[in-house]
Symmetry: C2
Subunit: 472 residues, 2 copies
């Protein structure tokens, strides 16, 4: 054994308390140490009032500092710590009467700090400063609510026996068939040279022995695991190499994907989807409706909708064909609807509006509009058991399908698109202990857009990646 | 409003119950529908006994089927459903007396199913069948325990006020400086051509305007957010383009990374790290010790260690220099220790063994062995406030540091390594409301190796990526 070691005694640090815990525990009369940033400063005759923000909650705690105790360097944006007594002030608000304060870092706003005190900025402006954006009140809220959305999602699934799994980012297949792939190789040229072989010379093949992409969906891998654990889900990054300026697309975005064995019909899949969206929104409103309402009030738009609509199940269901019937009666679309072609965003949003700004399922899609793995309808094999869930603000929030579970049918489909060899493992899943499965994917950032009425998806994630933007 | 819609009535599906819930609720005498796979079949005179496995738990439920009711097609590996009554049998075990069963998919093992009944396979063999590996008892357990590890990790952090955030996979910087990067471009050549500009012609630059890599660590991004939310963490994929055959490396692996503001000394960082590892292991043993013990018994190795060692804090602490003193006294290493050079895996494992197979912190590292952002020691600027946590089985489990928070010192460091322009945003964090921060990263798969005494990291993740392996 060592004789040269020191040990860290437990709890030897005089620890500070967060604003969230101060407000939760309300231990008036006790002394506390608090650390954070000064977001507002009001100088009165005898005292200075500072709003301390430590990011633990959207609420800020007022620190009252006698004038003789304040350091000159404490100004808007400074980081500081305050030690003092928690009191209930005359307005029945909690505040700290400071014994002493220490400034950690000043904030020389005249040297280029992008956010001035008491000013509200457009999100386009704030987005230019991604590294400091979390310091704004609204983006700090966004980050907390984003965390709450993942907590609520995990809650919904684990309550129902779903097990969370990780699916790979690096993949050798394009499971959506949309062809908008990023391709990957080692940067190091010497490494590539040293790994090259007779069989694999291409720089994109030598490392893994095949071309390797960033995943567009974890579904095929989820299917493998659902055929053992029955109910599985994942929350993870997915990628699209698409030159889009849309307010609804990112090059890197998160998907909630779930797959369940022993489902062989679209109705049961729809009920799993609507349970997901409705339970998650309910949980969020139960846990943090105040912060949600603050953000929703800021994000006003021409197309208002009631967030409670998402909780009201069952959702309406309409076939692709009938959706086209409705859309054909409208004459003022930028692009008219064409049967057999995808719906445009304008079409999707119209259908949602037509449905009273409530979610709506579109089912019975033409096979050509959906990936190879969607199962044909029993009575019409030009249509497949697939679904899009359309929601206010974003249109398509979720897509899903019952998966083709017939070995011979799937073999033929794979053969037709030249994937029989590449996806032999996927086909083989249908050979041993075969079961029907169905599943879906929800765009995580779009879900946040629906929840908070956010117009631009770039304002739902800390470091958005989109064409020409990956610096910070 | 639509007049063509149908609606999905709630709970219209006659739903099945999982093995886990059957065992938990023990409603003897009630009728249930169950769905899963036949993992063992014993034929007796009047009845057939089938172990049903649905992946919800490591436990299986015995289904008793009167001989006249069984379908011929039910065999080992088949998927099936059983309807029947829950009873306590003469051994006081729960079982289902079946009224009827339906086979969903047969399992023709003679046609190439890789897992024969009642046989235990080496993990190297099972790993050849990644798509069916979840169907084995031990890998099914691994997947559930992997989920439990992420649940326990999230529990530990949220109990302590840490907020989970997502950091980007696509990144324009190599934050570790190790140079083992994967580089990314769109696959579509027409897209690349259409996005090329006067300034950006290189296929690896046109999409994002700069070379784009797969992240090796989310730390720089976590620092941005910790400077607003104070305590943050993330669990996500990270990447290394390294031609390694090691039992401890993957090309794609998960990291638990945490960053905390207002920490300026290594001792406090060590206490946050050891709290993480010890609380997480304790939570796991509280929640699923039976399943953990089953797996640990299978994974015997020459270097046994007691998992309870991980829970006993404080951990020992030794400086890099003193670690070298200890290692220099040993003569039989494959590679001798060289002062100023990294420790080899053999050195790391020796130090852990020397410490009684208990975790040990190595601190006070030479600056050259750690990334640019590690803060120099106050009394010796050739050393930095960085730490490696070494553990049984894996050696380095976790690395962390106090971050350089002095604007001028960091500016000089960045300038010396040519990153001043690329990381101007990272430097600027030290300008406005500056605070000290510290953080660490724990290899998620290595944590599973420690927990379960797993020798090969490829057996801790469903679809491992490593050189020459990314097919499934």
């Amino acid at each position: 054994m060592f004789n040269v070691l020191k040990q860290i005694p437990n709890s030897r640090f005089y620890s500070s308390i967060s604003v969230k815990d101060i407000i939760k525990t309300r231990r008036v009369g006790c002394k506390f140490l608090m650390k954070g940033w000064a977001r507002a400063i009001r100088k009165m005759k005898d005292n200075i009032f500072v709003d301390l923000d430590d990011g633990s909650t959207y609420q800020r705690l007022q620190i009252v500092i006698p004038k003789n105790k304040i350091a000159d360097t404490l100004s808007y944006g400074s980081s500081f710590e305050a030690h003092g007594t928690l009191v209930n002030n005359t307005n029945n608000q909690l505040e700290i009467t400071a014994d002493f304060i220490t400034v950690h870092g000043q904030c020389p706003i005249q040297e280029g700090y992008p956010f001035a005190p008491r000013k509200i900025y457009q999100s386009d402006y704030v987005r230019q400063y991604l590294h400091m954006r979390p310091q704004t009140a609204s983006f700090s809220s966004l980050l907390r609510l984003r965390n709450q959305l993942s907590i609520a999602t995990r809650y919904r699934f684990s309550e129902d026996g779903f097990i969370e799994v990780n699916v790979p980012v690096l993949s050798s297949n394009d499971c959506e068939g949309a062809g908008e792939l990023f391709i990957v190789k080692p940067e190091n040229k010497n490494l590539i040279k040293s790994m090259a072989s007779h069989k694999h010379q291409c720089p994109f093949e030598v490392f893994f022995n095949n071309q390797t992409y960033l995943t567009v969906s974890g579904q095929l891998h989820l299917e493998c695991i659902a055929r053992s654990l029955t109910k599985v889900f994942t929350i993870g990054p997915t990628f699209r190499a698409e030159n889009s300026k849309s307010r609804l697309h990112l090059s890197e975005f998160y998907m909630i994907e779930a797959e369940q064995a022993f489902i062989n019909n679209i109705e049961e899949l729809l009920s799993v989807i609507e349970k997901t969206t409705s339970v998650v929104i309910k949980k969020l409103l139960d846990e943090c409706s105040e912060e949600i309402n603050i953000i929703r009030k800021v994000n006003t738009s021409s197309n208002e909708y009631d967030i409670n609509n998402i909780m009201k199940t069952p959702y309406e269901v309409i076939s692709y064909e009938k959706a086209c019937n409705v859309l054909e009666k409208q004459k003022n679309f930028t692009k008219p609807v064409i049967r057999g072609k995808p719906l445009t965003k304008e079409h999707e949003l119209f259908l949602v509006q037509y449905n009273g700004q409530k979610p709506i399922f579109i089912i019975d899609w033409p096979q050509d509009l959906k990936p190879f793995y969607a199962k044909a309808l029993p009575n019409n094999d030009s249509l497949v058991s697939a679904v899009d869930l359309l929601c206010p603000n974003v249109g398509e929030l979720c897509g899903g399908s019952v998966r083709e579970d017939n070995y011979n049918v799937l073999e033929e489909k794979l053969s037709n698109i030249g994937l029989q060899k590449k996806l032999d493992w996927y086909l083989e899943l249908r050979k041993f202990g075969n079961v029907s499965t169905a599943g879906f994917g929800i765009g995580f950032e779009r879900f946040l857009q629906v929840l908070l009425n956010i117009q631009n998806i770039k304002d739902t994630i800390a470091f958005p990646r989109y064409p020409h933007n990956c610096k910070t």
